[in-house]
């Protein structure tokens, strides 16, 4: 028993790996841009990996944001298979995360943004310790009812662009209720990434559930 415990203590600590998936245009990169300063403000040492579908646009956008040392942002090409690179064969992302940890030994949390995908996209547990799925109200309030694996199985469902709800005829309260119902009561959080609203609640959850700080 004590030998087992000692072996575990001897293992080097590794950074928590947090996946962010969701459909194209739902606000994944905007969420990353909001999470970076929010996590840094709480003293959390971070790095970022992006899986752009056909360009390095998301990686470049984060690198040029001025929010984080560009060397801490890695891009992994998905070979037109955004599902595969985070689920069936996450080896390239795992290697990229390992490499970031080697280069930045104090890193505590790595955000891993998936390429834009559909509602069936999910992250491998070999790749991430926790993953969230981002949808937005403008994509339609019926998305939770479609019960896609991304919506159902994510550790956290984020409904973004809540400010648009009245403009696209979405009953936000009902959408949130239905999302909570199909997820069996597991967390659903609302954000307006454009204005930074709802970000603190996500960081609170990451601190509590992933970093075990509170």
């Amino acid at each position: 028993m004590s030998r087992l415990a000692l072996t575990r203590i001897d293992q080097p600590m590794t950074a928590a790996r947090v996946g962010i998936g969701g459909p194209v245009g739902s606000g994944k990169t905007a969420l990353v841009e909001r999470l970076i300063p929010a996590l840094q403000a709480r003293g959390i040492d971070i790095a970022v990996i992006t899986n752009d579908l056909v360009t390095a646009e998301d990686a470049e956008r984060v690198r040029r944001s001025g929010l984080i040392d560009p060397a801490r942002v890695s891009a992994v090409e998905a070979g037109a298979c955004p599902h595969t690179v985070i689920r069936e064969d996450p080896t390239l992302n795992i290697e990229a995360a390992d490499e970031l940890e080697r280069r930045f030994p104090g890193v505590e949390l790595i955000l891993l943004e998936s390429g834009g995908d559909n509602l069936a996209s999910t992250f491998s547990r070999d790749l991430t310790d926790f993953w969230m799925f981002v949808i937005d109200v403008a994509g339609g309030d019926d998305i939770p009812r479609k019960r896609g694996p991304g919506v159902i199985r994510a550790d956290l469902l984020v409904i973004n662009k809540v400010d648009l709800a009245p403009h696209v005829g979405v009953d936000l309260a009902r959408m949130q209720r239905e999302a909570t119902d199909v997820r069996g009561g597991r967390p659903v959080l609302l954000t307006n990434c454009r204005r930074g609203e709802g970000i603190d609640a996500i960081v609170d959850l990451l601190e509590r559930e992933v970093l075990f700080r509170t």
Partner: protein
């Protein structure tokens, strides 16, 4: 004699679903198509033949065989450095290392003893981890014979090229099977000759090398190479 155990191992390790990141590498297919040098199955067959005869058989296969014979991790690292030194294209070197490190990472987690030992070595030296060298290491860990390890190496190259062509919309699913069959015959033919133990790695695939090297200049890009 037909060895069912080894045949099944080949099916597993040579499967495009084996999780070693192969789907993200087009090895020039994407670049050649973007530059107008590849637009259908005839062109694809030509590129595959170039890859196999002018690069894989004279370069990757030689490195794999050298790494196969290497007695320890120092000797393997020497072969790895030879791979680095004989690959002029920086993007080709980088792609080979990324693909090799991904494969090594999987076998490290599968607890292949040589893979575990060499992964430690690779993590401390950014120049190490080339794909054919790692294919030799993982083939040894998998208990394959050299012949079988060469088959896995050649076959995974072929399936990667054809799969990339399908995803780029250059060929359809039926054409892809015909290309695979033609490439399979060529690979078998190349393997009938055994290279000398002291053969040095060499390649002559200028169009492919240029296509891979131009990758970072392209704004729209789906593949690592």
């Amino acid at each position: 004699m037909f060895d069912r155990g080894e045949a099944l191992a080949l099916l597993q390790l040579g499967d495009s679903a084996f999780p070693a990141g192969g789907f993200a590498f087009s090895w020039g297919i994407e670049g050649l198509a973007a530059d107008g040098h590849l637009s259908g199955h005839d062109d694809l067959d030509g590129v595959i033949a170039d890859h196999l005869a002018q690069r894989w058989a004279t370069m990757d296969r030689i490195l794999l065989r050298r790494a196969w014979r290497a007695s320890d991790t120092d000797a393997i690292a020497s072969v790895d450095r030879l791979a680095e030194a004989t690959t002029p294209s920086a993007e080709m070197r980088d792609g080979s290392r990324r693909a090799g490190r991904a494969l090594l990472g999987v076998w490290g987690k599968l607890a292949g003893p040589l893979s575990v030992a060499y992964r430690e070595r690779v993590s401390a030296d950014a120049r190490l981890g080339h794909l054919p060298v790692v294919q030799a290491i993982t083939g040894r860990d998998a208990g394959l014979g050299l012949d079988a390890a060469e088959l896995v190496s050649g076959w995974t190259l072929i399936t990667g090229l054809v799969s990339a062509a399908v995803r780029l919309g250059l060929i359809g699913h039926i054409d892809s099977q015909q290309s695979l069959a033609r490439a399979r015959a060529l690979l078998a033919d190349l393997l009938t000759e055994t290279p000398d133990d002291d053969a040095m790695p060499s390649s002559f695939t200028p169009f492919i090398d240029i296509a891979v090297s131009r990758g970072p200049l392209r704004h729209v890009r789906m593949f690592t190479t």
